[in-house]
Each structure stands twice: as structure tokens, then as C-alpha cells.
Symmetry: D2
Subunit: 367 residues, 4 copies
Amino acid sequence: MKAQRVELFVCPMATPADTSGLQALADSGKIKPDTLVALVGKTEGTGAHDDWGRVWADVVLREWTGKFLGIPPSEVAKQVIFVLSGGCPGVITPHIAAVTREWVEVPDKEVDAGREKRLVVGRAGSEPMPPEEVGRMGQIRKVAGATHQAMADAGLTDPEDVHLVMVKVPGLTTASIKDAESRGKTVVSHDLTFGPEGAGVYANDAAALGVAMALGEVPESSLSDSVVRRNWDLYSEVAMTSSGGEKRHGEVIGHAITRDFIDAEGVRNALRSAGLRFKDGLPDEADLSRLIHVFAKSVIPGSDQIRGQRITLLDDADAYQIGKALGGMLVASVTGRTTNYVSGGERNSHQGPPGGNIVAAVVRADG
Amino acid sequence: MKAQRVELFVCPMATPADTSGLQALADSGKIKPDTLVALVGKTEGTGAHDDWGRVWADVVLREWTGKFLGIPPSEVAKQVIFVLSGGCPGVITPHIAAVTREWVEVPDKEVDAGREKRLVVGRAGSEPMPPEEVGRMGQIRKVAGATHQAMADAGLTDPEDVHLVMVKVPGLTTASIKDAESRGKTVVSHDLTFGPEGAGVYANDAAALGVAMALGEVPESSLSDSVVRRNWDLYSEVAMTSSGGEKRHGEVIGHAITRDFIDAEGVRNALRSAGLRFKDGLPDEADLSRLIHVFAKSVIPGSDQIRGQRITLLDDADAYQIGKALGGMLVASVTGRTTNYVSGGERNSHQGPPGGNIVAAVVRADG
Amino acid sequence: MKAQRVELFVCPMATPADTSGLQALADSGKIKPDTLVALVGKTEGTGAHDDWGRVWADVVLREWTGKFLGIPPSEVAKQVIFVLSGGCPGVITPHIAAVTREWVEVPDKEVDAGREKRLVVGRAGSEPMPPEEVGRMGQIRKVAGATHQAMADAGLTDPEDVHLVMVKVPGLTTASIKDAESRGKTVVSHDLTFGPEGAGVYANDAAALGVAMALGEVPESSLSDSVVRRNWDLYSEVAMTSSGGEKRHGEVIGHAITRDFIDAEGVRNALRSAGLRFKDGLPDEADLSRLIHVFAKSVIPGSDQIRGQRITLLDDADAYQIGKALGGMLVASVTGRTTNYVSGGERNSHQGPPGGNIVAAVVRADG
Amino acid sequence: MKAQRVELFVCPMATPADTSGLQALADSGKIKPDTLVALVGKTEGTGAHDDWGRVWADVVLREWTGKFLGIPPSEVAKQVIFVLSGGCPGVITPHIAAVTREWVEVPDKEVDAGREKRLVVGRAGSEPMPPEEVGRMGQIRKVAGATHQAMADAGLTDPEDVHLVMVKVPGLTTASIKDAESRGKTVVSHDLTFGPEGAGVYANDAAALGVAMALGEVPESSLSDSVVRRNWDLYSEVAMTSSGGEKRHGEVIGHAITRDFIDAEGVRNALRSAGLRFKDGLPDEADLSRLIHVFAKSVIPGSDQIRGQRITLLDDADAYQIGKALGGMLVASVTGRTTNYVSGGERNSHQGPPGGNIVAAVVRADG
């Protein structure tokens, strides 16, 4: 019987245009044109919607991948999923992770024997989303549909086996707002930032609710336009979403949530759930080499209180940067390394419970 | 025989002008006009040199203290030490801590018996420092002198018993620079910020070297104008310094240093050294109630590498805020609370070893 | 017959708590407890909703005024209007302007003779506005009502005689949002900033439409919740509004609008309409001494084009500060002085035409 | 006799990688491989030392130019001068200006007849500058030498004929500081920003003094390491300098200085000196079509006073961006267009007199 063999390689980047790590992987045969399924990374720059560091990285990585695959850059998206998250404030090392997938023959009895579950990956694109659907039920339903497709692609049927859904959905732009309004439609927001009423967070959160709907975390009957960014009791524990490009999916094993913004134990739990052992708050050194990668959100809590004490983060002029940076510190202080995928900075989200955040870890199986 | 009994009370502040916590302490008799020796706190605002949140808090707290002591606000500084550190980005709760000191009679044999050491406090003012001495040997020597006085005031003779020296020294202002230059003197910097060549960090670092000299951490022979902010091998492990006002001192027991910027274990070690017990990376819940307060620096490392990986913090436009916020997260994620005194954001310092930071904890003795 | 004599005195402030200029006016008898009707000023600080510079100034100015009037600070608002606009980025000098009004006897024939119109001032408070009305028709109608009252108080019946309506309305806060939602109401926004979907700009713009409705600039029939911050063809040419406190009014003579963001000629036109003469683009020096004060908005255009060329201001991370600062430069470069009242930084507004801004000047009559 | 014919074409850029304007110029034959001598422009992005918008533009423009010239990108610098200035806050349109130079035969008598002077361009590279020379006499002397070469290349002998010297010099980087210190040398600053003690401004100002020395604006005998950024009486009226790459020169006709930061009349004088006529403060419309381009600095004054009134610009957290933006407004409000080359934001400079700034205009000769 055929089974997936998925691998993930993390390459630090010295500049937004640094493809040397990928090239080394290609040269060594670790990634091949027919096994590369996704590039997921953090790029340095402002993290804002006009972050030229991210845009430049995107252009250069697509060019490199096009050459590697022997196809034009414009065709790359059909074969390889790109998730680039801009902004590395604080202790987040700019990096790109290459995800590969191969189908290998395994003895049937081994599969039957209920062996320990391993990392599998699925991906899918969604139907086009017009600007008037962004941040609303239209977007929620299309993301839910694509999540089902991605599960099928991954060979998964039980939502419990889904530990991370990374989704990239279109947000709004000056041009797409103008388009919608010229057709007599309204849009969810005129704010292009990731502020609390920004189009970016509405898109992210509709996508998260789409994943939650697909996985049964939230019943479809409780969903409507008016719950998006209003009813925080509805959320996904596995959706990590960002907006800006086309919609894409990938799933990775091993996750947990933090219960509030300073919950280092939540991070340790994610690592434990993926099989890592801890000693005195730090991962066992021998074990640490088995930790491949950590994916974490760092959404700013909507409340100005943490464990009963007031904080002023909501009022910080640069709360978006600081909120993202703090998530990077929380993860780095537990894993002892800085090459973590941490996105965030928005205020409140349907990604994770109110005040808490999602953490997912990829750990190599023992022995 | 007389011995000190020192207590420390932490009051969250709802605004920069909130004195209700202090008033409650006064009403309950926990602080008295003749026992109050210091007010140490974090105020909300920008944290910059023209942070009006800090200035307003300073004005209001001096007025309150003047009334409490029955003296004019301008006389308050002679009796009570003020250390207000501006800026609470991220997860640092604005608060003021009142420090009290009483002299109580203890049986001589108890003292002789080498009982566990307890918290003692000393304070001292220094000679005036003209602007041309700021950030240079003149300031280093005067801080060293005052540190000796403060030790005497605390009844300490062994530098090993000194765990925290908080120093507030004058920095430079537009007016004081003009004054120095009109007298034909030069000043160490024309940059009034806390940037890498800013007058604020030169003053902080000269003060730190002054403490290091007084405590024998750095031999006087290795000190000169040209080592300040150049030779990072010279540092104090117990000096927490800030600039802006008059020079003052206070000492508190229990400290450690972090070995790098993401070293949560270093924070745990500080708490352990003050007598706290940990279980699985978090303080034992029963023990946590004994943790009175944590004082920590969060100086940004001068290198763009942490444990071998590049970070971009040095290039962040808002590195000063982010650097301070990250220290707040590192401490809060270990202690599980946000009312910590964390100052920092400057790049490199003689406060703590290269890349690492100072953490001091006040813990109530067992039983 | 009785007529108003209105005067306006501009005092630069050395700190947010500097009342020395007002005290000098009081000492010289230029302002008296029964003539002082308004304090209007720009305070230094961040200009954000938690700008402690503005808050401190407000506290100190109310205390000073209370003493001056011989009433408690909490009663001051009933007698003197406060309009404090936070943030002086760039070339805006922090200052407070005291407005006085006296009723003087003038010969009836002089009034009949249609003499040149002079500065008059009216003021009014409005009914309370619950949070669910902020940025919506409820607020629009209440501001319109108060504008009518203020006109009556000023003795004006013709809307053409109204050149400036300064309005301060309540915005939203974390607490007031919670209050509204606990009563089953919705609010216009959860964003507390002055971003494009921020509660602050919704409040400002509802107030501007309220003025426009009262003065017949916009017919009531074209107004509804859904036009606020959507239909930019509806606007007032005389409303300068800000949010944060209670609603108040004042009117001053002489105004014009700029046709776009770089239109210095529009500024000159405002000064010309108030009677100032220009020579080669600069005010005649003899004339300049007659210029008492300038009030200007500096709203960022909603378009990314000025006169056919793209600008990136909409994408600037600090567009709010820069947008305000640019208005300060536009006015200062024309008047040759920096003590101008310039508020702004928000994106798009019903204050002034699309892309343009309001400028009003107070000029002493010739001879 | 041979004479230069110099032309300058301004192309707005839609993104940092937009070469469509240059391509159109190439397609129409307006620029040719053997006439293109310089590309000078403003790129969108943060304007900081790690501004990825500028870096990306630089890479793309060199690639484009390499293809246009038929040489590798690495060879482009030998033939075409690049001056890219990052950051377009406010009303500065991102653009690239192509400068071409041809040698044409003119009748000798025409030259002799002392015809109106026309635009000429010269360029030169300098000797390598090691990091220890940055911001010091070494850099000053090498820039002076290159200025002499550029004058010779332009065919100029009288310094009075030099109206603009654009210089790009190397600044300091983490790597070059390490290099210098490993060889036992010191560097002028460890601050990599454009703050008041930043390496960037020391390099800019040493370059400005180098130009001043070459043109006789400042006698060599008054120059030394210690006057750089200390003695503001020494300055050039024609040097526009920036740091980050190699040293290069270009000269353009027609300049003036502003006497202070809000001096619109100074901008008008620059345009007048280049032959433009004004009416009521604005350029005559017919004349405006003759205005090819404006180059201006916008250095923040070192004083906190403008015409006797205090401003808080020196304390603004984002003074660097605001200072640059304000210069853009000052020029745009006079020229009525936004495609101006305006660099600045640093505090104090030897480029222009204390408080004032340099403005140079290129205007097509009449008829």
C-alpha cells in the first residue's frame, strides 16, 4: 500500500532574496522537482501590507522555484504552495521551510497495525472569492470547501487527525474595493491594515471560521456575517490563516493551544503532544534535535487584563509589531531556538480561543 | 541589637496619576511617613525622554508623598528615593512599589547565629555631576562613591551580599549640553535618545561601571572614558541604572543573570537563588505567593545572532520598545504574572554580561 | 444696542502643564473670570487616544481655570469650553488660545449701517449621546441641534455668517463599548484608533455631518448611518471636529478650503478672505501683525494620487503623525509662523471636500 | 567646438521594481546606451538602512541597465551613476530620473559669446575609503578629490558654476565596524541609524565638507575630525550627500538655500534663480512646464525654535520620517507637483546653513 513520506527542511535566509539554503537542498537531492509541495516561511521587513521585503522574497522564490521545476514563475503556484509571512520583529529568524511529499510503498500489515501516526500533507485551492465576500460567509464557505479537499488530498477522514491548517486567502486592496463598489456591492472594511477593524483581520478570521466549520469545531448554523470578529466563542484550534494572496492549504501534525498570552506551559504542551520530553522547563537536549519546526500564532488578547492585571498592549502605538515579537519570545524561550514560524500581531482572532493562541510542532519520531 | 526589617508592596496603577494603591497602604498603616524609603515603579507612556506619562506620574507621586510626609514636594527627594521607569510595552503592568524600612530590636545571639540573610536596603546621594562628566570617568567615580555610602547605610560590608543596585543618574539635555559647550567643554554625545550612541545609554553605562568598580567586579585600573560602551567584557551583575534625575541607590536580595536574550532558565535561576522552587518550568503554586517582586533588565544584544541564528532586532525601527517588551514576556512567562519591574530596550550595556541580562527577585522567606 | 466684543489670545506652552501664559493674561486683566469663554489649543504628546500629554494638560488647565473662576475644576466645563487637540508633530508649536467675549453697548445706527462683520462666538452643549449613537444618525442629529443653539447664542441667523464650528463629541472607549453590548446594542467600530475604520473618525465625521445638516450644507434627507465615511460628497466646509470629551461649539470668522493636500493657495485664500493682503506669496509684513490665529484641518486624502501622481502616504506606517505634520507645514510656510491650530491625520473626512481641507483665519480688522 | 547637451527625464515608478518608464524612454530613443550617465531617484519603503524597497529597486534597476547597455549588472556602476534615496513619506512620488549627456558640435563664436549657461554634468569615482575614515578627514579629502575630478569631467573650472553635487559615500555596517576594530582602529560611531550620532549622518556630513573644501566654501585649514557634526558654521550650499554605496557625482544648474525650515520663499528663490517666474506665490502656469525637476534636502534644524517659537520635532519618535515628509510638502506646495527629489530627515547637517536647506532646480531654457 502507498503511504506519504513527508519531510520539512528549515533554511535560514540572510536576505529576503537568499535562495542559497534551498539551492543546497536541491544540490544534495533532499528536495526534488516532483517532491516539493510547499514553501512556508518568515521574511524580514515591516510586516505591513506593503512590506517590500516580503514582496521581493516572493518574486525571487517564485523565480527560483520556476527554474528548479523547469516551468515559468507564473505556473509555480499550481504545483507548490507558498505561505510567506512578513515581519520578524524581535527573536524570529527569517527562514524558509521546504516541505516535501513522496508516496512510498509500505507493507499493508504495518498500516493496519495502527502504527503511530505520521506527518501527512494535503493541499487544495478554492474557488475565486470576489471582494464583497472577503471577511463574510462567502469566504467562510469556500475555505470550508477547500479544507475538505485538502483533507482528501492528505488521505485524512477524521478531523481529529488534522493538527494544522495553513490558509492564505485574498484580502482587500484599494483596487478590489473600488471594483466591488462600482458593482454596487459593499465591502467589510475600508481599513487595509491589520488593525481591529482592518480588512486583513476580517479575511484571516473568515478563513479561520471556514476551517472550524469544515472540521466541525463550529456548527455551520451558528455562523453568519455578523459573528465574524464579534463572537469570540467561535474558533478553530488548528487554523493559521493569513491574507494577501491565493488560498492554499497544508496540514502538519502535533498541536496545542496556550490559555493566555504569557502561557509558556501551553507551548511546552504543544511540544509534548508531538512527542518531545521536557526537564525543568526546557526540552531534553537529546530530544531537541528531534524538533523540526514550530508554527505559532501570536494574536494579541482583546482584553486589557492578563491574569487579573492590566496591561497597556492594546494602546501601544506599535502593538502590531510588539504582539508578534512577544509570540516569538514565548516560543524561543521554550525551544531555545529562534527559527520558529510565528505570525500574528492582530488583535483578537477566531484562530484559537479568546486570549490564547495556537502552537503546532513537528517532531521527528523516536528511534 | 538593631536590625533592618524591609518590606515591599506592589500597587498596580490604573493611570499615571493613580495614587489609590499607595493611599490604601497608608490608610492600613502598612506604610508610614517614617518607614517609607523608596518608590520604585513602571509608568505607562512612550518610554522616551519626553514621556509625559512618566513626567505626570512623577509630579503626582511627589505631591502625594509630600502630603503623606507633611513636607513640600520639593523636599520629598531628601527622604524618599524615586525610581520611575517609563514605558510598559507588551505585558508589563504599570505599577508602583513602596519600599519600607524599620529598625527592630533582635536578640544578639540570633544575629550571631548566622541566620539566613534577609532583605536590607541602603541609600545614598552623590556629589553633583556636571554635564561634561556624564558617561565618563567623573560619573563612574561618583557613582562608585555613592555605592559605598549606600552599602554602609544598609549595614553591608561584603560586596557578595549586594544583589541589586538601582541607580538613577543625570543624563544630558539640550540645556545642559549648551551649558557645557559654553564653558568650552565637550559632551559624550549630542544624541538625547537611548540609541546606541545616545547620551542616555552612556549615562546608564557609566553608572553601571561605577557600581562594578565599587563592588570590585571591575578593577579601577581597567576603567577609562574610552571603555564606556566599547569594552563589553567590563560589566556589573547587579547594577540596574537609568538616567534622567538625581543619583539614588537601593539594594535588594537575590539575583542571577541570563546568558542570552531568550534564556528563560536564567530567569528561573534568579528565582531559585532567592529561594523559590520550580516544577516543570513553572513556580510551584504554593511558592508563588512568596514571590514579592522581580526586577529585570532587558538590554538588546549587540550581536545579530542568538545561538547561531540571525535575528533582525537590531534593525527594527521600534527596537527600543520591542526589546523592552521581550524582557517583560520572558519574565512574565516564567513567573505567570505581569507586575514585574522590567526596564531596557537599549542596545548593549555594562549592566550584565554581553548578550545577557540581570534578573533579581524578592521572595518572602519560608515559614 | 448690545454687541459682542470677542478677543483671542495665543499663549505658547513650554510643557503640557505650563499655565504661565494664561496667568500673565489674567494678571494683566486681558482675560477675566466673566469674559473667558473658551480655551482652545494644541498639546504636545503622541496625539493617540491615550496621549498623556493631552490628558495632563487637560487636568492642569481645568485646575487653573477653576482657581481663576473660583469654582471647583469639575464645574469648569459649564462655563468655559475646552478644545484640546493632542499632538504637535513637525512645525506646530504647542499653545493654548484663550477666547474672551464681552457684551458692549454700540450705537444702534452703527449696527444698522451694516458695518463690516466682526468676530462673534456662540457655544452650546448637546444632549447626552449613548455609545450606540456614536458615528451614527443619533450623533448627527444631536450635533445639528447643538449647532443651532450655538448660532442663537452667538446671535447669528444666517448660516453664511458661520465660518468655523469646533465640535468635541464623545468617541468610544473599551468601557462604553462593553456597556452598549451588554444592553444588546451594536457599536459602529471596535477600533479605538483614528485609522480609517476607527471609532474616533466615525465620531468626528458624524459630528461634521451634524454641522453640515444644521447649516444646510447637506440636506437631512440624504443622511443615514450608511453614508458616514462612505459618501464623501457630503461634507461641511466649516466643521472642525474631534472626539474624546463632551460636545462643545465655537464660531470664528473667515474661512476657505484647500482644493487638495498641497494647495498653499487655498491657505492664502483663507487669509485673504479674512482680510489679509499678500505680496509674492507671503503675507505683507505690516499685515502679518493683524493675523491673530489660524485653524486648519489636515485630513489625509483617501486617494493615493495628488494631481495625477501617486503618493504612498496611505501606506506610511506613521501616516497619522505625518498627515498632521504636513498640514502644519502647509500653514506655517504661508503664514511664516508655527503657532497654528492644526489637527488632523485621519484618512478622509466629511470635514471639507474630498482631498481638500478647511482653513479658517482670525484677523484683526484694519485701522 | 564640442559642448555637452544634458537632458533629464523623470519617470514615476508604480512599485520599487517598475522599470516601465525607463523602458518607454529607451523604446522612444530618448535615452541610449551611450548617452545614459545617471539614474537618480526616490524609492518607496522605510528609508531606514535596511529599506528593502530601496534594495530591491537597486537590484532591479541594475539588472535593467545591464541589459540596456549589454553588460553584466556588476559592470553597470562603471558607466552609470546610481543615486537612490529611500523613503517617500508624505507627498513625495516614487520616481527615477534618467540623466543623459551627449557631446554636440557648437559654433565657436556661440560659445565665446557668453551665451546663457546651460546644464552640464560631470562624474567621478573616488579612492576606496576604509571604515576608520568614514565621517572623518580621510573621507573629507577623498570626496574633495573626486569633486575636482567631476568638475573637470563636466568641463567646469569656476566653482561658482557648480550648483549641485550629489555624492554617495560608504557608511558603516556591522561588518565594516568589526573589520576596523579587528585591525585596532576606532570608528566614528556604533549607531547605524541616521540619528544625531549615527554613522550615516557622519558619512553624509564628511562628504558635504569634502565638497565644501573642493569648492572653496570652507578652507581646508578649518577642517578636522572634531568639527564634523560639531561646528555648524562650516557647510556647503550645493552638496547633497547620502551614504550607503559607492561615491559618485553629478552637477546640475540652479540653486538656492532656505533660511529656515518653513521658508517657502527660499524654494521659490531656487526656482527663480533657475529662470522660473512666479505670480502670487505660485509658478506661472505657462512657466511650470519648463520646470524639469527639483532636488531638495530636508534636514531637521538642530534647534527647537523656529522664528522664536518652540517646536517639538526634535522629540518626535518618528522625526526622521516627518522631517523628510515636511521637506516634500514645502517643495510640493510651491511647485504644485509631487515628483520632487527630496531627501533628508537627519538632524543638523553640513549640507546647507544651520536651520536651512539646499534646493536646486532644473528648468528648461526659455524659447
